[in-house]
Symmetry: C2
Subunit: 166 residues, 2 copies
DNA sequence: GTGATTGTTCAATTTAAATTGAACTAAGTG
DNA sequence: CACTTAGTTCAATTTAAATTGAACAATCAC
């Protein structure tokens, strides 16, 4: 099993630029650069890649690659390929924008929205217990507005997903 | 001019929780916590506040407050109040979701989209210069897909703004 | 079973980002 | 003008986040 195939190491200029493109992309979403590198290399590769391929070609640690792949799988941005023969897993990207955005909304956006709504509920209860003066009225008004923001976001998200679906 | 008005220092529990709410919010958007603190305190205050008020009540440095206010003004999330008498400036929040999202899209999202389109253009030119083999076809296909993503985003953003406008 | 291969976890380290604080500009006051 | 007050800038520091790498499971091969 020595020297089986020509093992590509390093990255072509083209590959490096595609990867850089995705690093910028994930940066906006608040995800670590390594996620962009991994997804980028998968996106620009014709064949599915193993964890070891990612480590070798990107020059990142096994820990980073493992952790990054885990996040990408949770987001639904990457899936295990069926083809790989041995015990080793190979990964390929999901390239459907709809899926990518859907996964991001489900994993990153909705949890934050939900926790925000919880906090808002607490705040409303605090105001309900305050003396009914002008200050409490002001607070109630501001909280009501936040509630409307949150409600709108919850209507908007499915619409966005629908729009991206076709 | 000593001891003019009862100068509130520190934060009530309610104020602290509202500020915390906004810190979470800006975190998702990839903005620093101090931005959330400043906007949060303005949001929960009935009167416009000066830079010095922010420094004192939030316990942050003048530098942070100045820089944070600058960013918030650029985003259109905060404006100078008309009322302030002396030479000092007072600030109040813009509480219209439409404006806030609009400012964020204009300042944070569009510039990234534009730079991404530039990079994509470069990549397409590189592929055009490659030998016309299967690999180049694969690359061309992937880049075309990225182009569609970007096009969709550009259609979607104004729709989102419109939706939030009413 | 032993030894090799694949992948995960997490404490220690590195890297990147935010914050401070002192020096500075600008504008107001007497 | 000299003196105070308001606000900005930016190098140095602090803080938070990402990455590493070594130890640890899990799975296969023999």
């Amino acid at each position: 099993m020595l020297g089986e195939t020509t093992e590509e190491i390093g990255l072509s200029e083209f590959e490096a630029l595609v990867i850089d493109f995705f690093c910028d992309g994930v940066r906006i979403l608040g995800l670590p650069k390594s996620i962009g590198e991994i997804y980028g290399l998968l996106y620009v590769s014709q064949e599915a890649l193993s964890l070891d391929d990612l480590v070798r070609r990107l020059g990142i640690s096994k820990g980073s690659a493992s952790q990054g792949l885990k996040t990408l799988r949770e987001l639904g941005a990457v899936r295990e390929s069926e083809v790989g023969e041995g015990r080793r897993s190979y990964y390929e990207p999901d390239v459907e924008l709809k899926q990518l955005v859907g996964g991001f909304i489900k994993e990153q956006v909705r949890p934050h929205l939900a926790s925000g709504e919880g906090k808002l509920e607490n705040l409303k209860q605090m105001v309900a217990k305050m003396p009914g003066d002008a200050r409490a009225d002001f607070y109630a008004g501001r909280l009501a507005r936040l509630g409307r923001w949150s409600k709108r976001a919850k209507i908007l998200l499915p619409l966005v997903q629908k729009f991206l679906g076709r």
